[in-house]
Symmetry: C2
Subunit: 162 residues, 2 copies
């Protein structure tokens, strides 16, 4: 076997060995992929400042446990909280999940991660907040994931809390 052939054989071998690994990393769906996708889609609705679309991610019995205000349960109550936050001047909300998990039965799961939030207060001063969140997701009869509980709180000392 000449050199060009050996090189070809080596590359063919490497390519064949790499296939299962490629298939595993790029194609095998994990149970939590759908829940991470729902988490990302929910953020897009927030970024678009679309209250109705954001509220549509809630389960019909969904609750939001926001800091410094009582728990809100049901779409009407949660809509008020979301509308309040999105209406803040120059409100910019970003979050990304750090962990995601789904029960073996695939009907209940969670995402948890970090958020950055900034807005201008009445005087035009920029208020910045960073913190963490926990969302519990419930699989719906149509196969979509909806928010059963969502809660977050700030990493900042009390005085800096918005």
């Amino acid at each position: 076997m000449g050199l060009p052939q050996r090189i070809f054989a080596t590359f063919a071998f490497l390519f064949a060995s790499a296939l299962p690994a490629l298939a595993q990393t790029s194609h095998k769906p994990k149970p939590e992929d759908a829940i991470r996708a729902a988490d990302a889609a929910w953020l897009k609705a927030y970024e678009a400042k679309d209250v109705d679309k954001s509220v549509a991610f809630l389960d019909k019995n969904g609750s939001m446990l926001a800091p410094n205000t009582p728990i809100a349960t049901g779409k009407t109550a949660v809509a008020k909280l979301i509308a309040r936050d999105l209406a803040l001047q120059d409100s910019k909300i970003k979050w990304h999940p750090d962990k995601a998990g789904v029960a073996a039965s695939g009907d209940l799961g969670y995402t948890s991660g970090f958020y950055d939030w900034s807005f201008k207060d009445k005087s035009g001063k920029v208020i910045s907040d960073t913190g963490k969140y926990l969302t519990v997701w419930k699989k719906q009869p149509d196969g979509s994931w909806k928010v059963l509980f969502d809660t977050y709180n700030s990493d900042n000392p009390p005085a800096y809390y918005p």
Copy 2:
């Protein structure tokens, strides 16, 4: 059939009809009973101000998302947060779950409810806080339920937050 016999037959029928309902309400264990029991046992460890016993309720990868401090993950980090809270002068913590649920597979669940917390600050002034919490529980190989995530935040306006 005479009147007394008809009455007996009617009562016998009612009694037989009621049996399944009685069995269901008083004897049939619900999947979330064990998770509510774990939630109550965890509170007892807090009430006893037993840091080690309280930390023992955490999954080995468990996280606490406490307000105004970064997320704590793992028993060593969570122990510091619990020790800090239990060391406050006259610290009194109470909570009760409002909702509890378990995945169909019985490996993941949640409790969510309300807390009351009071303590004395350095000057001896009593600080009182009320709020809500969300706990995600993971079934362990030995059948016990441990805390995968625990988070809470205050209902009070920012200025009153401890």
